[in-house]
Amino acid sequence: MPANSGSIFWDNLRLQGRIIWALTLRETVTRFGREGLGMLWMIGEPALFVIGVMIIFSFIDSGYPYGISPAEWLAVSYPTLLFWRNGTGRVTGAIEQNRSLLHHQPIRPMDILYARILLEFASGMAVFLFLFPIFIVVGICHLPSNLLIMAVGYLLTIWFSFGFVLIMAGLAELSETIEKTSHIILYLMLPFCGVFVPTFLVPEPYRNYLLYFPLIDAVDYFHHGYFGPTVPSYYHLGYTVLALLGMTLFGLAISGVAIRRVKVA
């Protein structure tokens, strides 16, 4: 019996993997098309965004301490924002838009969300892995102080984005108000994402309050890996992991509820 149920589990996992992959390929074609630059837009579009923001902020004297230029700060910070921000934009309403696919037995609604998240995150990651070495070569950035810490911080940011995106997908499907205002929520989150307001510029006790939001901890850990000990960073790793675990479970639950609702009407 255990061996049998085990093999059913693996079969289901393989099936789901196949479906998510098929949907991701589909998504790649509908979003980027086969003509012109095609797949290159996956990196090109967010890259233009990152570079554009860097150029604009270079004209503003932000007065960062520790000899950090605005371009350097944004080169390292801004790409973290692509995950939760673009990811949310991608999943809100995704199930309703893809209702027609639910007629196919093997496709589960969750797979539609996962496929979109996968593609968006792959794009966000590709653009960073593409731009960061270039920034190092042209001298905007230096080599990371501790690559492992940077990678862990990056993965924590992605994990936060996964939970956050699932929660937003569920809420948007359940409430039209959330769906209509999701871009406002995303915009108002900008000061609290560790990118535009560096934690080292925030006075106590407010900095401590900010650290309750796990995204700030994750992004600051990422910064810590890049800047090293010369720039102060603030984070509570244990708390962050726990909070992210909670967010992920809540996200899975609420998108599950939302999906049941979609399939009823």
């Binding site: 196949r18 390929l25 589909r26 007629h103």
Partner: protein, 218 residues
């Protein structure tokens, strides 16, 4: 248990902005054994498509259970199972991958059967309903389903293609089918079991002819 079994299905839809409920299916049960060809009749709005969507799993009933002992197709004919901004060819690729069948073989099969010519490389949203059902029918034939759900497919195509579809279905004798339609000829020619849907209830008969006779007298 390789039957398709619907037990005590209830389904209501909210009306007047959720202040009221319209009962569409009221305690419906249906058993489809392998190889059986069911025709379900009913006037427009009787709930025929609702039954098909509950069988296909895209809609959940308020209560009752659906047991799928066989591998059930999507509702053929009904253009709604495709992605409208993808081309016919890309839809075929997607669906082949979803059902785990060979992609190139599927596309080749669709090319040969659907006879869509160059339109296969145009987005599905530009298709007419007849072209849509050609794609849907050809694609479902490429995948080895045990039970085909047919939602009026045969009535939208042109005569020659309809005949081709009916022949194709008849040649797959060991396959089960649930066909919903208000075209009695289609049911008479393709089904060996029949029922009709009225006021949320499914009425069964001993023979297809008897079902059709009763339905015509209503």
């Amino acid at each position: 248990m390789n039957d398709l079994l619907l037990e005590n299905i209830h389904k209501t839809f909210p009306i007047r902005h959720g202040r009221d409920k319209q009962v569409v299916l009221d305690d419906i049960s249906l058993r489809v054994r392998p190889g059986e060809r069911w025709g379900i009749m009913g006037p427009n709005g009787a709930g025929k498509s609702t039954i098909i969507q509950i069988i296909s799993g895209s809609l959940t009933p308020d209560s009752g259970t659906v047991h799928r002992g066989m591998n059930v197709s999507w509702p053929i004919a009904f253009g709604g199972a495709f992605h409208s901004s993808l081309t016919g060819r890309d839809n075929a690729r997607l669906i082949a991958r979803v059902y785990g069948v060979d992609v190139d073989e599927t596309v080749a099969g669709v090319e040969a059967f659907a006879e869509l010519g160059t339109y296969l490389d145009e987005p599905v949203k530009t298709y007419s309903s007849g072209m849509n059902s050609r794609l849907s029918f050809a694609l479902s034939m490429a995948i080895d389903f045990d039970c085909f759900l047919v939602d009026e497919v045969i009535s939208v195509g042109d005569i020659r293609f309809n005949r081709k579809c009916e022949e194709e279905l008849r040649s797959r004798e060991n396959k089960a089918m649930v066909l919903v339609s208000h075209h009695l000829d289609i049911i008479r020619n393709n089904c060996d079991h029949a029922a009709f849907l009225q006021h949320g209830k499914l009425h069964f008969f001993d023979s297809v002819d008897e079902a059709i006779r009763t339905y015509e007298q209503m």
